[in-house]
């Protein structure tokens, strides 16, 4: 193989790496550098080392944002994955001609820009006249909930928005994965049990674990990166008593509401350890599940 053919692969990969360096690596290095300098907005900043990181460890609001983000992430996962599995099963039972229609409808929220979705959700979450109150709360005798101002419900509102956005998308992935499961495994299981739960537990779920891992990672990263949805609903703040304050919201506040770019950069860098912990947990769980000898 001549030199050009041997090294053509680098040429093909070059665009990716150029973009990677320009839009990921360079900003990352710039951000880390910014986190080591003072918050001075105008003029030369001075080197402050790890001062911002130290201040974060003493900042109660920062830990509130971490807690809220963790609750938001886990609540979203806890709702989206089981519901998606349920919907995927239901969708598989739908007539083949109707299935694409339902799939498209379910994909729509995921294809909608988050800011647009949040604007729509303003109608849903509107205190007294909102759809949620008028359809699901008031008819059942409940008092209207101020979803975006009551600190007991703000985070729930963000979770509901996330569930609505991703439920269809994740269902779509799961349906595709379910359709790739070889029928022979179901036929083999039928010899021992005809229970639907056993089919799900011993065949469907193990075959879906790769896709479930992908969905888990996807949803965790999206939860940590959520900004536009929370920004439109809560205006860049965390809402009453910081009930909806997420890591990205707090980073934004520090950068643009308070002009503390150094502090905000430190917060951005600190997202990585939290995210890595959660992702490590996912992969650890996946490896244990696989190691127990799951089929597929």
């Amino acid at each position: 193989m001549n030199f050009a053919r041997r090294h053509a692969v680098y040429g093909l990969l070059a665009p990716f790496f150029i973009l990677f360096i320009c839009f990921w690596l360079a900003p990352l290095i710039g951000g880390v550098r910014m986190s080591l300098y003072s918050d001075k907005l105008f003029g030369e900043s001075s080197f402050v080392g790890l001062q911002h990181y130290q201040e974060l460890l003493e900042d109660g609001r920062y830990f509130k944002a971490v807690r809220n983000t963790a609750v938001y992430t886990l609540a979203s996962l806890g709702l989206i994955l089981p519901l998606s599995l349920l919907l995927a099963h239901g969708l598989k039972s739908v007539h083949a001609r109707l299935r694409p229609v339902f799939q498209f409808i379910m994909l729509l929220p995921g294809l909608t820009p988050p800011a647009v979705l949040a604007l729509l959700f303003l109608l849903v979450f509107h205190g007294r006249q909102g759809l949620l109150n008028q359809w699901f709360v008031v008819p059942f005798g409940g008092k209207p909930i101020n979803w975006l101002k009551d600190p007991d419900f703000i985070l729930m509102a963000l979770v509901l928005q996330c569930v609505w956005r991703w439920l269809g998308f994740i269902t779509f992935f799961l349906v595709a994965a379910m359709e790739s499961i070889p029928r022979m495994y179901y036929e083999a299981l039928q010899v021992e049990s005809t229970k639907a739960w056993h089919r799900f537990r011993w065949v469907t779920l193990p075959f879906l674990r790769h896709v479930l891992l992908f969905c888990l990672v996807y949803l965790i990263v999206d939860a940590f990166a959520l900004f536009s949805g929370a920004y439109v609903l809560l205006g860049g703040s965390g809402g009453t008593a910081d009930a909806g304050l997420l890591l990205v919201s707090y980073t934004y506040q520090n950068a643009f509401s308070f002009g503390k770019f150094g502090t905000a950069a430190a917060m951005s860098v600190m997202v990585a350890p939290w995210l890595l912990c959660l992702l490590w947990g996912c992969f650890w769980g996946y490896r244990r599940w696989t190691a127990r000898g799951a089929v597929g």
């Binding site: 001075k40 105008f42 509107h126 008593a241």
Partner: protein, 424 residues
């Protein structure tokens, strides 16, 4: 002529040509003007044309409008990175404090203001708005005097005479009567805390930089606002903001509240823009007064927010920018246009002599809005500027207001937590 001389002449010619080109390139570049609202963009585009026609036909401006919340974000990035910053920026005074923490990125206009005698023309309390010590970094566009906007039709329907409401005690008594009929008298907004506190003569910070210097007054205002909400005299908008368009399409249009505290620009710009169908159904009156401990009523206005014009320190067109700002601030027609165009009432006193500022306003029931504002002008309090004021306003508005209103947190605890958050 020897070769060296010929070469020297050629080099000189090229040098001169290059200088000319550079000079004309700088002269041809427009002044970049960043505006905080799309409505104001229309005004400044008109002003640029007027300025070109009357003062400097070579003047060019590139005006960009951003949303009120978006502009500070872009400005902060531009200043931090030094990339494409504006020459002139229209910035709200609430956000100005962000730039006071360290070196101020705007030109000190104090000498220029004195030379142009703008210090004699602009309402003194407003001149100190964009200032730090003796330095003046910006000029205020509006008087920003707080008034009480009220629904004349609904007041009449409920038998309320605005002349009977001269103090907040009168206001509460009227409100209690209305509350019996499940009618709220006023919309409640987080900004009212600062407005009413300032009306009482206190503020977020004092000149020494202490937060909540008059803690008792701060607590009493929060308790008073809580009382209004609790007794049904006041109603909090769905998103707890009287600046949200949804507030106008719901609470205002359905008559769920009969009055709103707002500045001149609030009525001229927001109420007229978002409730055009209520033309002729609004009236304006001074704020009811607080009584002091001797029972003597105090000032009948306050102030909050208001845009100003500032020049970026590293701008290459400082003189051009200043000349334009000076003209906009001093030109009578420019000042009148701000008011009649539905923007704000000017802070430049010599312009007040113009009759056009004192005409009946059809939207506000043919009241002479300008007359009321000029009467209230001497009572407009000063704002004590502090680098943490933007944070204080933001935190109270977003974190604490609703909790205080619903009794989830006491005013004392709010003050304590805010001091901790702002490390004061």
């Amino acid at each position: 002529m020897n070769l060296f001389t010929k070469l020297h002449s050629v080099v000189q010619m090229f040098g001169a040509a290059a200088l000319l080109a550079a000079g004309s390139a700088v002269a041809a570049e427009p002044v970049n003007l960043w505006i905080s609202s799309f409505q104001d963009k229309t005004y400044y585009e008109k002003m640029v044309k007027e300025y070109q026609a009357k003062v400097d036909s070579e003047f060019k401006a590139d005006i960009q409008a951003f949303g009120f919340r978006e502009m500070p974000d872009k400005l902060a990035i531009a200043i931090k990175t030094g990339t494409n910053p504006p020459d002139i920026v229209q910035l709200d005074e609430v956000l100005f404090g962000t730039y006071l923490a360290d070196e101020v990125p705007f030109v000190n206009l104090a000498e220029r203001v004195q030379k142009a005698e703008l210090d004699k023309g602009i309402v003194p309390q407003r001149l100190k708005l964009f200032a730090k010590g003796d330095a003046i970094y910006g000029l205020p566009q509006s008087l920003s005097a707080m008034v009480l906007y009220y629904r004349t039709d609904l007041f009449k329907e409920h038998g309320i005479d605005p002349e009977d409401i001269s103090t907040w005690d009168d206001f509460v008594d009227t409100g209690r009567e209305l509350a019996k009929k499940n009618q709220a008298l006023i919309a409640l907004d987080p900004t009212y805390f600062e407005i009413l506190l300032r009306q009482k003569g206190a503020d977020w910070f004092d000149r020494a930089g202490r937060m909540f210097p008059d803690e008792a007054e701060a607590e009493s205002v929060m308790n008073w606002l809580y009382m209004l909400n609790d007794e049904g005299i006041g109603l909090i908008p769905e998103r707890a903001s009287i600046f949200d368009p949804v507030f106008f399409s719901s609470m205002v249009n359905y008559g769920e509240v009969l009055s709103i505290i707002g500045a001149d620009w609030y009525g001229l710009d927001m109420i007229q823009q978002f409730s055009p169908e209520l033309k002729g159904k609004w009236g304006v009156m001074p704020l009811p007064a607080w009584k002091d401990r001797f029972g003597v009523p105090g000032r009948r206005t306050s102030t909050f927010a208001g845009q100003g014009l500032l020049i970026y320190k590293n701008s290459k067109k400082i003189e051009e920018a200043w000349k334009f700002i000076e003209w906009v601030m001093k030109n009578t027609d420019a000042n009148v246009e701000r008011f009649v165009g539905g923007n704000s009432f000017p802070a430049y006193q010599p312009a007040w002599k113009d009759e056009r500022l004192h005409q009946p306003n059809a939207y506000f029931s043919n009241q002479k809005f300008g007359d009321l504002l000029t009467q209230l002008a001497p009572e407009v309090p000063e704002v004590v500027m502090h680098s943490k004021r933007p944070q204080a306003v933001f935190l109270f508005q977003e974190n604490f207001f609703s909790s205080v209103m619903y009794g989830q947190i006491s005013p004392k605890e709010t003050i304590r937590q805010m001091r901790t958050m702002l490390k004061e």
